[in-house]
């Protein structure tokens, strides 16, 4: 059973470029702090947002770059348990990050290390839950973090 939403979700539409991604980060921080989300949880969501938008811009293809990205943020609070959800919706190539599994071990040496490919790893590490659906030509990725609030 999902927890009740504390306030209506906040929403923002941005261009698919990294400068607007930074603007989105500021929006996320303001929206989250306004709903008393702990700073360490905001930091986790912020990392996920930066990496998710970087993936859209780098790998989403021409349609992703020419279409707006819609963001939505909401908080749910129950007795002790709280969740914050960030929805990232883009029109790029269909891709489900929630199924990404890092099967390759970490490189054994610096010589073997390849720069890049770490964004999804960070999204998985900084989130508690990822869910994905593709509808009407858009990717809808929901990133969730959870925490326990003292009464």
């Amino acid at each position: 059973m999902s927890l009740p939403a504390a306030q209506p979700p906040a929403a923002l539409t941005i261009r698919a470029d990294m400068w607007d991604a930074r603007r989105a980060s500021g929006w996320l921080e303001s929206a989250a702090l306004a709903q008393n989300v702990p700073l360490d949880q905001v930091v986790r969501l912020d990392h996920c947002l930066d990496e998710a938008l970087a993936n859209v811009i780098r790998h989403g293809g021409p349609t992703a770059l020419s279409s707006p990205v819609h963001l939505q943020f909401g908080v749910r609070r129950g007795p002790g348990a709280c969740t914050a959800e960030l929805l990232v919706s883009d029109a790029g190539l269909a891709f489900d990050p929630s199924t990404f599994i890092a099967v390759a071990p970490h490189p054994a040496s610096l010589v073997d290390a390849m720069p890049g490919g770490l964004g999804l790893l960070l999204i998985r590490n900084f989130s508690d839950e990822l869910s994905y659906r593709h509808s009407q030509g858009r990717n809808h990725l929901t990133i969730t973090v959870s925490w326990v609030e003292e009464a």
Partner: protein, 114 residues
């Protein structure tokens, strides 16, 4: 975000990064960081204690820099102090196993003397 450096001696360069190294910030410091690592003679300590956000792009910049230093026979290490977000990011990606990471700045610089 900002990048500055100091050559302690002929064999030791300190590079201090600060601020938000998100994707945009990392792309901005990347050329200067590459220049500083490629031109270093010997050891490089990269100070990350003042960094409050480390993206995958920033990690790519660090790895590329460490490879450049190693290609010239030197070594690069990271100083993270007690910056939990940075430590978590490095551990999640396994980069702390490739580039030696220290919480104490003296330990970081001593490691390059060995």
């Amino acid at each position: 975000m900002a990048i500055r450096f100091e050559d302690v001696n002929e064999g030791l360069r300190r590079i201090v990064l600060s601020g938000r190294l998100d994707t945009v910030g990392s792309e901005q410091i990347a050329p200067k960081f590459a220049e500083l690592t490629e031109s270093a003679n010997g050891g490089v300590v990269v100070y990350l204690s003042e960094v409050r956000f480390l993206s995958s792009m920033a990690i790519s910049v660090l790895v590329t820099g460490a490879k450049a230093v190693q290609a010239k026979g030197g070594r690069m290490v990271l100083h993270v102090a007690e910056n939990e977000v940075i430590i978590r990011t490095l551990e999640a990606t396994g980069i702390n196993e490739l580039i030696p990471t220290f919480q104490d700045s003296l330990d970081a610089e001593k490691a390059l003397l060995k």
